[in-house]
C-alpha cells in the first residue's frame, strides 16, 4: 500500500471524481468520431489545466505547482481508469521534463508558463522505426549560421495531432539532443494515423526545418533517457489505472452474469484467475510507485525501477485486457462493449516507449545479467 500525503490524497480524490464525472469511457467513443482530427477533446484539457495538472512538474517560478511525478502518477492512474485521451502526459510530463531538465533558461521562461496554463500542448518525437530505439536516432540537426536545420522522419508520435510544439530527438555533431520545434514551422509535415486506441498519433517529416539557436533544449543520452523515463513511469501509472478498471468492471460482471443458475463469479475456475490477477496488479502497483518515487528523488536505481514498472504494466495490462474479454464471453468481442477499448489501449501503451521485452532487456543490462 502506498502511503500518500494529505495533499496527494486530495489530488487523487479530485482526479477520481472529475474523471468519473467528466470522462466516462464513452468519451473515448466521442474521440473516435467528433474529435478524430484532434485525438482528444480540447475542452477536457482546458479543465485539467484549470485544476493545475498541467503544471505539476513545473517549478513555481515558472508558473507550476512543482508537486512531482508521484502526484502526476496518481492523476495518470485515474485518467487511465477510463482510458481518458489527452495530451497531458506528452505535454506536462514529456515536454515539461525535457525543458525543466535541460539547460536552456530562455526556453524555460518562454515555454513552461504556457504549458502550465494549458495554452501550449506538445508531443515527444523520438522513434523512427517500428520499435522503440532511442539510442538509434537517424534524424539530424545541423548548425547553420545562426541556427539549426532539422531533417528526418518520426513514426507514430503520440498526441502529435493536437500538439502545438514538437520535442524532437535529433543527432548533432556532439550526439543526441532534444529540440523544441513549433508544429507549424515550415518544412514540418504531419500525417494523421488512425490507430486502434483512437488517440491522436501522427507520422512526422522534417525537411530542412529552420530553428533558431535557442531551440536546443538539452543534449546527451542520459538526459534523453531521463526525459523518457519520466514519461515511461507516468505512462505505466496510466496503464495501472486501465488495468484496475478493467479488473473491477470484470469483477462486476462476474457477480451479475448468471449461467447454470449461478453467477459465473461463483465458478472456481474464474475465481482463481481473478485472484491470481489481483496478485499481478499488486506487483505492478508497487513497481509503478517505486519508480515514480525514485525518479522524484533522482535515485540511482530510478532507471532500473522505471523499466521494471513499464514492463510489469505492459504485461499486466495486456493480460487483464485479454481476461476481460474472455470472462465476458461474446459480448466482450463487440464494439459496443468497453473490453475491446481496454485491449486496444493496453496493446498501444505497451508498444509505446518500449514494450515489456524491451524493458526486460534494459533491466538485464543494468544488472549485468
Amino acid at each position: 500500500m502506498i502511503v500518500l500525503s494529505d495533499e496527494q490524497i486530495m489530488l487523487r480524490d479530485m482526479a477520481k471524481s472529475w474523471v468519473a464525472d467528466r470522462v466516462p469511457v464513452s468519451a473515448l467513443r466521442a474521440v473516435r468520431t467528433t474529435y478524430a482530427d484532434h485525438g482528444s477533446d480540447p475542452v477536457l484539457y482546458t479543465e485539467m489545466a484549470e485544476m493545475g495538472w498541467t503544471g505539476i512538474l513545473i517549478p513555481e517560478a515558472h508558473g507550476g505547482v512543482d508537486m512531482g511525478l508521484v502526484s502526476l502518477g496518481l492523476i495518470a492512474e485515474e485518467l487511465g481508469r477510463n482510458l481518458a485521451a489527452s495530451p497531458l502526459l506528452s505535454t506536462a510530463v514529456a515536454a515539461a521534463s525535457a525543458i525543466v531538465r535541460g539547460d536552456n533558461e530562455a526556453k524555460k521562461a518562454e515555454l513552461l508558463p504556457a504549458i502550465a496554463t494549458g495554452s501550449l500542448t506538445a508531443a515527444l518525437a523520438i522513434d523512427e522505426g517500428p520499435h522503440h530505439r532511442p539510442d538509434n536516432i537517424a534524424a539530424t540537426a545541423r548548425v547553420d549560421n545562426d541556427g539549426w536545420v532539422l531533417n528526418g522522419a518520426k513514426r507514430g508520435v503520440a498526441e502529435a495531432l493536437s500538439a502545438d510544439l514538437l520535442i524532437v530527438a535529433a543527432k548533432t555533431d556532439d550526439g543526441i539532443a532534444l529540440f523544441a520545434c513549433p508544429a507549424d514551422r515550415e518544412g514540418v509535415e504531419k500525417t494523421r494515423l488512425a490507430r486502434i486506441d483512437s488517440r491522436g498519433a501522427a507520422d512526422l517529416r522534417f525537411t530542412n526545418v529552420r530553428l533558431d539557436k535557442a531551440a536546443l533544449l538539452g543534449s546527451g543520452q542520459p538526459y534523453v533517457d531521463r526525459v523518457l523515463d519520466a514519461l515511461r513511469a507516468a505512462q505505466a501509472a496510466e496503464m495501472l489505472g486501465g488495468t484496475v478498471q478493467a479488473f473491477e468492471t470484470t469483477l462486476d460482471y462476474l457477480r451479475t452474469r448468471v449461467q447454470f443458475d449461478h453467477p459465473i463469479g461463483s465458478f472456481q475456475a474464474l475465481q482463481h484467475r481473478a485472484a491470481d490477477m489481483m496478485g499481478e496488479i499488486e506487483l505492478t502497483r508497487s513497481a509503478v510507485y517505486a519508480a515514480l518515487t525514485a525518479l522524484d528523488a533522482d535515485d540511482r536505481d530510478a532507471p532500473i525501477l522505471t523499466s521494471l514498472a513499464k514492463a510489469m504494466a505492459g504485461q499486466t495490462f495486456r493480460a487483464m485486457a485479454k481476461e476481460m474479454i474472455q470472462m465476458h464471453g461474446g459480448i466482450g468481442m463487440t464494439d459496443e462493449h468497453d473490453a475491446g477499448l481496454y485491449l486496444k489501449r493496453a496493446h498501444t501503451a505497451d508498444v509505446e516507449l518500449g514494450n515489456a521485452a524491451f524493458h526486460r532487456e534494459r533491466y538485464a543490462q543494468f544488472l549485468n545479467i
Binding site: 461463483s266 472456481q268 485472484a275 489481483m278
Partner: protein, 399 residues
C-alpha cells in the same frame, strides 16, 4: 533487559542499530543462517559464537523486534524492524531466533492469552528457548481443517486428548505443540478449541515421515489419553476456530515475508554464468534462459517492493489482512520459480541425490527444488488462498 529510550528518527535508529550490530555480531558468523535449535544433524549444531549471538540478540529483544518489551520483544515499530533487517543483511548478519513460536504462536498468545499465559509462554519464544510445533492437520482434515476429529474431553481438573495429527513439522524435536481439538461433535467450526500441549506429556508420540527430498522433519503425531492441564486452554472452550484463523493469518504473513526464498546464495546470474557460460559480451550464453532469469528477477524485485509497501501501509494503519492470501501465493510462486531455474541451470549437475560426484551447493539446490514444491501446499494451498481472496477480497459470490 536492555531498555534504551526509543531513538527519534528512523535515521537515528539506523545509526544506533548499525553500531550495536558492529559491537555485538560475531564476525565468525558472517553469512551464516538460522539453525534449528534441536537439529540432530551433526555439524549443523549451533557453535559457541552462535549461542553468544543468540544470547545477545535475546537480551536486546531483537529476535522478535516488534513484540512488546514486557514479553521479551524489542518494542520496535515495523519500520524500525525493517531497518534492522536491512542493517543485518548489509553485514551478513542474521536473526538467530525463529521457528513457529515466533512466526505464529507468539502473536496469537499476545492477542488471545491471559496475562499469565503471556508471561509464561511468550518470553521463552522471544529468547528462542522453547520450540513449538503446529498440530492442526489430520489425515482427514487438510484444506478442510475444520473437519478435524482429535477428541478433547473435559475431565474436571484436566482435559483428556485422543487422536492423530499429521504433517506436524518438527514435532519430534519440539518442546510444545499448539493444537486444534474437538470439544463439541455437534458443531463443525464452533466445536473446536485451541490447546497448548507439552510434547513430553505421557501419551504423545511423534513419528517422522520422509519427504521427497529425503529429509524427514515432519511427523505423524499420536495422542493417546494425553492429560492436559486446564490452564493450557487458549481462549474459551469451543472458541478455537477464531483463534486458529488469526494464527493462520500470522502464518501467511510470515510465509509471505520470508526473505530466505533466495537459497541460491550467489544469485541466479552467477550460477548461470558458471554452468551455462557467457557470450562475447559477458552475457549469459543461452539467450532464452537469460530472458527468463531476468523476468524472474524482475518479479522478485516487484515482490520485494510489494512487501515493503505493505509494511509501510501497516505502519500507517491502512492494510486489511485478507491481502495476505495474495501475498502468500505470490511469494510461494516466486520462490518456486527460482528453484526451477536453479536446477535448469545446473543441468545434469542438478540430478544428484548425494555425493560424491556432486558439490554441496548442487546437492542443496536439487534438494531445495524438490522441497520447494510444498510452498504452494502448506500454510493453505494456492487454491485455498485463492478461494479466500475471491470471497473476502474480491467479494465474488459463493457457489
Amino acid at each position: 533487559m536492555d531498555h534504551q529510550a526509543a531513538p527519534q528518527t528512523d535515521e537515528q535508529f539506523r545509526a544506533s542499530a548499525r553500531q550495536w550490530l558492529a559491537d555485538n555480531f560475531p564476525v565468525s558468523l558472517k553469512g551464516g543462517k538460522y539453525i534449528l535449535p534441536h537439529t540432530q544433524e551433526e555439524g549443523e549444531k549451533p557453535g559457541p559464537d552462535y549461542l553468544l549471538w543468540k544470547g545477545r540478540i535475546a537480551n536486546k529483544g531483537w529476535g522478535v523486534p516488534t513484540w512488546p518489551a514486557r514479553y521479551g520483544g524489542g518494542g520496535l515499530t515495523t519500520c524500525q524492524a525493517e531497518i534492522l533487517a536491512e542493517e543485518m543483511a548489509r553485514i551478513g548478519a542474521f536473526n538467530p531466533i525463529g521457528g513457529l513460536g515466533v512466526m505464529m504462536l507468539g502473536p496469537t498468545v499476545l492477542e488471545f492469552g491471559t496475562e499469565e499465559q503471556k508471561l509464561r509462554h511468550v518470553p521463552p519464544i522471544a529468547r528462542g528457548e522453547i520450540e513449538w510445533c503446529q498440530g492442526f492437520s489430520e489425515p482427514g482434515a487438510g484444506s478442510d481443517l475444520a473437519s478435524l476429529r482429535t477428541r478433547c474431553e473435559d475431565k474436571g481438573d484436566h482435559f483428556l486428548v485422543n487422536g492423530q495429527k499429521i504433517w506436524t513439522s518438527f514435532a519430534h524435536v519440539s518442546d510444545w505443540c499448539f493444537c486444534l481439538v474437538r470439544t463439541d461433535t455437534s458443531r463443525k467450526q464452533a466445536g473446536i478449541s485451541f490447546l497448548l500441549i507439552d510434547m513430553r506429556t505421557e501419551g504423545v508420540e511423534a513419528r517422522p515421515i520422509s519427504l521427497i527430498n529425503g529429509v524427514s522433519h515432519f511427523c505423524e503425531t499420536f495422542f493417546t489419553d494425553v492429560k492436559v492441564p486446564k490452564e493450557n486452554l487458549l481462549g474459551e472452550v469451543n472458541a478455537g476456530w477464531g483463534i486458529a484463523k488469526r494464527l493462520l493469518q500470522h502464518e501467511r504473513n510470515g510465509l509471505s515475508s520470508q526473505r530466505n526464498v533466495a537459497n541460491v546464495e550467489r544469485g541466479l546470474p552467477d550460477l548461470a554464468r558458471a554452468y551455462v557460460g557467457t557470450d562475447d559480451e559477458g552475457r549469459i550464453a543461452d539467450a532464452d534462459l537469460r530472458a527468463r532469469i531476468t523476468a524472474h528477477m524482475m518479479r522478485q524485485h516487484a515482490y520485494g517492493l510489494t512487501l515493503r509497501h505493505r509494511n509501510a501501509g501497516i505502519e500507517a494503519g491502512l492494510e486489511g489482512s485478507a491481502q495476505m492470501s495474495v501475498l502468500k501465493n505470490l511469494g510461494a510462486r516466486v520462490a518456486q520459480d527460482l528453484n526451477e531455474l536453479a536446477v535448469e541451470i545446473l543441468g545434469i549437475a542438478g540430478l544428484g541425490w548425494e555425493g560424491p560426484g556432486y558439490s554441496e551447493e548442487e546437492l542443496e539446490l536439487t534438494s531445495g527444488w524438490l522441497y520447494s514444491k510444498c510452498f504452494s501446499i502448506y500454510g493453505g494451498s494456492h487454491e485455498v488462498q485463492n478461494n479466500i481472496t475471491a470471497k473476502r477480497v474480491l467479494a465474488l459470490p459463493s457457489a
